[in-house]
Symmetry: C2
Subunit: 317 residues, 2 copies
């Protein structure tokens, strides 16, 4: 009989669901299932149960399960109100449905918030009273840690920072808004920046992608920059500029000096961070710009699992 305290953390992504076994604040094993075409609430619950059973066979049962889900989550009610990747999830009582299926207590949180909690407790946010977590991916995930605690707004809506307006007359966003930050400073933003560019070096760059900007992944754009491609360098500087505009804006609103930046795109840090700092200086008081500190996230893909497992550990006395 083991006496190890063990919780499971689940990260529901648009492509994969991952479950991590967390012991002593470490992810000791990870299991993964592709989501595929099965995107209904029932199908997702079934996949989580499958992952739980795999994990239990090797590691034994968990005290509780924490789940980070994409979309607008009401953590008190345990509900997913809506989700960009799962159109059928409208007012889905995910916490209770999953708890019933897995047979242990479940904590539910927005995925970006779960990442913020992970970094706050075990990563780059350790010891910071206030910080803003930015997860750069298809969009911009955000988490606000204020006075040492996650701030969730009135109904779990907080930190949809990707939908902060930075260009009032800008392009339409699928949130229904216009000129949202994540239209520029995200993976899809890279495509937009490429399409809008009239840099003569663009053609040579796009040759590596069959001439199609939509084939440019952040990882590939990063590799091209590593290879010394001039357009790729310019692209990352532009990206950094948009990133910095939004960070300055958040600094002005919240007066928070620490930003923890993660997500796949953060890998290209060396190519955009300087432009980000310049844009921050361009869009806020000199005192504010000098005070801003950008931190790279430390936990990578484990952040969300650790964060949701931590929330799970608080569900059990």
């Amino acid at each position: 009989m083991t006496t190890t305290l063990r919780d499971y953390g689940v990260d529901i992504g648009g492509t994969n669901i991952r479950l991590g076994v967390v012991e002593d604040d470490l992810v000791v094993a990870q299991y993964r299932q592709p989501v595929g075409e099965h995107r209904s609430p029932q199908a997702i619950v079934a996949l989580i149960v499958e992952l739980q059973q795999q994990a239990m066979q090797e590691w034994g049962p968990a005290r509780a399960v924490g789940v980070g889900a994409p979309g607008i989550v009401d953590p008190q009610a345990g509900m997913i109100l809506k989700s960009p990747h799962f159109s059928e999830w409208i007012g889905f009582s995910a916490r209770d449905a999953i708890a019933q299926a897995v047979g242990v207590p479940v904590a539910l949180e927005n995925d970006a918030n779960a990442i913020a909690i992970g970094e706050a407790r075990y990563g780059a946010g350790t010891g910071l009273t206030n910080f803003i977590m930015l997860t750069l991916g298809t969009g911009i995930g955000g988490g606000l840690v204020l006075r040492g605690e996650l701030f969730q707004g009135d109904r779990g809506f907080a930190a949809e920072v990707g939908h902060m307006v930075i260009q009032r007359d800008g392009p339409a966003c699928n949130c229904g808004g216009h000129g949202c930050w994540e239209l520029f400073a995200s993976a899809s933003g890279l495509h937009r920046l490429i399409d809008a560019s009239d840099d003569p070096a663009k053609a040579a760059f796009l040759e590596h992608f069959h001439g199609e900007s939509t084939r440019v992944t952040p990882a590939a754009a990063y590799e091209r920059a590593l290879d010394g491609d001039l357009f790729a360098h310019q692209l990352w500087r532009q990206f950094g500029g948009y990133l910095g505009t939004g960070i300055a804006s958040l600094m002005n609103v919240l007066g928070v000096e620490h930003f923890v930046i993660g997500g796949g795109i953060a890998a290209a840090w060396d190519f955009f961070a300087e432009a980000t700092q310049r844009a921050i200086a361009r869009h806020t008081y000199p005192e504010n710009a000098a005070a801003v500190q950008l931190h790279r996230a430390q936990l990578g893909d484990d952040a969300g699992i650790l964060g949701s497992a931590y929330l799970a550990s608080r569900c059990v006395a």
Copy 2:
């Protein structure tokens, strides 16, 4: 000998300094001194002492004095780091200087935050766990009440909401930034909107102002709208649109549903509020737009005095 608990609240404005005598949560008397050319730290302290002596003669001494000051204030250190209206105030230890001069404990806060505290305790924010206070004047003053308390950021910098970027390639702001919200949704914003307009009705409107947009005060633009001037109506709708864009952005970032709107410009509410709601709907999720509630501030010019007097009351045991 009276046993009434009495505090003084001081509001330092760019034009006047006002001191209010607060008894039983009411402003029972107000005194005022024009700032004029005397804008040094010493001159302002001397004016506050003068107001204090006037008030004491009629109402007796106060337990403590609360001061709301424009600019970037560090309330813990009791310092004004810098101020848009008082160029000599750089790292001015206002709290200690005033306390020494008036002989009672002093609390110092940013003026917009003092207004937020006033509305939170006695006005439109009563009972709201989270709300955002917007004071529309020359710029946009902001105060964030989160989890029932003023959120001040890392060093009292929070809620410079007027400097949130809403038009990345927009005009330069005297904060050093570009495209700040308050360049559009403020008194100076009205001038900018008039200058940019090519509405044929503009000429008739401007006739009332000797053809000069800079002579258009918010009060005068409001009067023209009351008189049925078509351009004035259009102007307020535009103003409302910019106001709503920023409110939507704040809603997306903080997930806070309640906004309390005060300041002189709020008088024109009936002419801009509908356009504000439309812009909110244009720039956020339908769920968010439906959840936003705009409240008119209730305390007018008393808000800042009541708020700073409340802070003063917490300085005495």
